[in-house]
Symmetry: C2
Subunit: 189 residues, 2 copies
Amino acid sequence: MDSLDEMLLEVKDTSELMIDLAYSSLLYSNRDIAEEVFSMEETVDEMVTQIQNEAINKVLEDRNVPKALAIVRLSTALEEISDAAMMIADVVLRELQPHPVIQLSLRESEVIITTAQVQEESILVNRTLGDVKLATQSGMWVIAIKRDRRYIYGPDEFTTIAAGDVLFARGPKDGEAYFKDIASGAVRV
Amino acid sequence: MDSLDEMLLEVKDTSELMIDLAYSSLLYSNRDIAEEVFSMEETVDEMVTQIQNEAINKVLEDRNVPKALAIVRLSTALEEISDAAMMIADVVLRELQPHPVIQLSLRESEVIITTAQVQEESILVNRTLGDVKLATQSGMWVIAIKRDRRYIYGPDEFTTIAAGDVLFARGPKDGEAYFKDIASGAVRV
């Protein structure tokens, strides 16, 4: 895979996570997650601009106009998805009434998405997801990690957690408190 | 849940399936699935128009302006997602080069989404998904059923299959042939 394809995949993953997060922010009227969606949208915009620039520049080398067009159209669609996610999150930030939200949640009330930042004093620091068995203890699966401005999607048992990481986890509502406490360092078992 | 919420949920489910189908059409340059995405987009547009009409009409009864606004904004976002899915499918229909596609597929090549219409002579007719054990025999999970112009999302073991149903299934590439044969009636075990 060349770097263009890698960027496309990253934008695809980001836009999917954004939709998930946007619905979550809506279901739980969670402003933090809604704001995260807004910040991800900026990243997507920048990446899409870069992808489209590179795709069209590449035509000068490989004269492959249809490929460039396909990439431009695909990345535009991904940007639209990320814009739509932002519109969903915007409903939360404008504090429009959460009613339709709570009703939407009927179907998904068992599962939430939540985030927590890993503090220096957390036992998660410098350990792998496999080591800490977060999923076994709390039912919370880490679906993505934000490190500085980058995202690690679908981390696995070998992914090492660093202080400062923001973990995005999916799981039962009643696993959330433990998940947040273990990340903050408030709980050390 | 009132009918507005039900429609919103249906549009949400449809837009999600559309994104899945659009990527699938792209990964396998599958024009049938791409065309399905186009037809679903029309349904979404109609439903969103209806939702927005009802939401605003309802203000006359309940004077709940913020709720109406939230519904209008949310449904607009869902329409954008469905438009984006259409843009992705459009790459396939325009026969723009499948290259970026094949590369995108690297990550997901194990799993495909495919469709098949159930013919009168298929053993699936009038049986439930639980009865026929399609998943056990072919690895293909039915994720949605299109019956006339409506979709049944996340059908379960109790869902009965009718002649004429279009099944959308997700599973391993090598389960596809059996899945299509069983739906067409070519294979009866």
